[in-house]
Symmetry: C2
């Protein structure tokens, strides 16, 4: 039973916390993942807790890029598995993207819990679990350089929701096109990725699924046109302006 | 051994996370407390991770108010006990403020761990642990209304670092003067408290201890003058401006 009083004005946010805590209890989420989620909560709060036009724009470009990819891979960590496992599997099926479990705080037990959750939610093939298939990214600290040679290592487009800046940079240096979800438009991940969706992954993933469905009817030339005009840095700047505007508005209400 | 590579550009922030995680492992911090800390981290990042002039101003007023109090009480929760137990005990001794353990997510085992930590750090009397001394605040949900009749219930000035908005409001409605530490200048706690120190408690507590020492030489009239000119809402607005300015600056660097 939830200890959170329904009368609490931030009940909604506290219930999402409970979801993560539940994921933690199931062995999916690292303790550090709870903290990371808290950081996200704060930025979501500042963004107005809704999917704005800048996020929608980035999502459309990400959808086109995923459909154009030769070998897309979606990287899954504990927080993603706790927050939206069903949607991640759905996205992978719709875009023919492979799923790879890849953790910042590596831990075999947690990896297994994530694999099991993904399978329960309909995933068939999951990469990143067979040590024989491991390959190394260069330019990144030893513990976190391991990827799957049949997955991220060979991918042209990698989706890394809620990723660390170091790894995003290593993926970019390895020549990958990186799509990320990150609520902090100033983070290194946001600034380094090719396409940054500044939004809560639990909201944005639905929009991304819809968009890939819609754009799957377009031809390559049309998709390329969508991607070509996108400027990630500019989009990030507009997200920063959105936060500033929200601060001004909220400061007036307060 | 820490898994965090020293080369990581956010190593400092990750080490603080480890401190909280350590507090969690010792049974001091609730899972929800890890998330709450993450939220704080994000606001600290936006504030520039330093004690600004607005925070210094609020700290000075808080110090004067504590010295003027007839019966000050410091409320301690798990995160505070994990982050700065020694400093909290020092502050209580210097201002003759009582210590009361008071949790948002109530839990007897955690309460005991907090009491033990405070004792190890030099606390002699700790309130909030004897059910016979419990009293009820009105206007707040049942699970969180319990306070100590010899502590918060009878206090004129209450220090509540990292507090929930509901409880802050209940304390204000009960006629208490409330001093809080909160990194989010827009939070209900910040907006409801009498004096809000918008700063990381691990930095601000040192400044507050120094300030109470310095101001202890002043007479009542001088202390009253310091308190009288303080406008909490105005100070909060200036903190919001500080965040906006940092966003502008960081957006340019990014």
């Amino acid at each position: 039973m939830s200890l959170i009083p329904k009368s609490h004005p931030r009940a909604k946010s506290l219930f999402i916390r409970e979801k993560l805590v539940h994921g933690f209890d199931k062995g999916l989420v690292a303790k550090e993942g709870l903290l990371a989620q808290g950081r996200g909560e704060a930025f979501d709060y500042l963004l107005g807790e809704k999917t704005g036009k800048n996020a929608k724009n980035a999502i459309k470009v990400a959808a086109a890029q995923l459909l154009l990819a030769k070998m897309p891979v979606i990287s899954v960590n504990g927080n993603v598995a706790a927050l939206c496992p069903k949607e991640i599997v759905k996205l992978s099926k719709q875009t023919k993207a492979k799923l790879e479990v890849n953790l910042f705080y590596t831990n075999e037990k947690r990896k297994k819990a994530i694999v099991s959750t993904l399978k329960k939610n309909g995933a068939s093939e999951i990469l990143g679990i067979n040590p024989r298939d491991s390959a190394k990214l260069s330019g990144i600290d030893s513990a976190r350089r391991i990827v799957d040679k049949n997955g991220i290592f060979s991918a042209d487009v990698v989706v890394v929701p809620l990723e660390d800046g170091d790894r995003t940079m290593a993926l970019r240096n390895a020549g990958k096109l990186v799509i990320t979800f990150d609520l902090n438009p100033l983070s290194r991940t946001s600034q380094t990725a090719s396409i940054t969706i500044v939004d809560n992954v639990t909201r944005a993933i639905h929009v991304l699924i819809d968009e890939t469905k819609k754009l799957s009817r377009k031809n390559k030339k049309e998709l390329k046109n969508i991607v070509k005009n996108f400027d990630n840095k500019k989009n990030l700047s507009e997200n920063i302006i959105q936060i500033k505007d929200n601060l001004t508005r909220r400061a007036k209400i307060a």
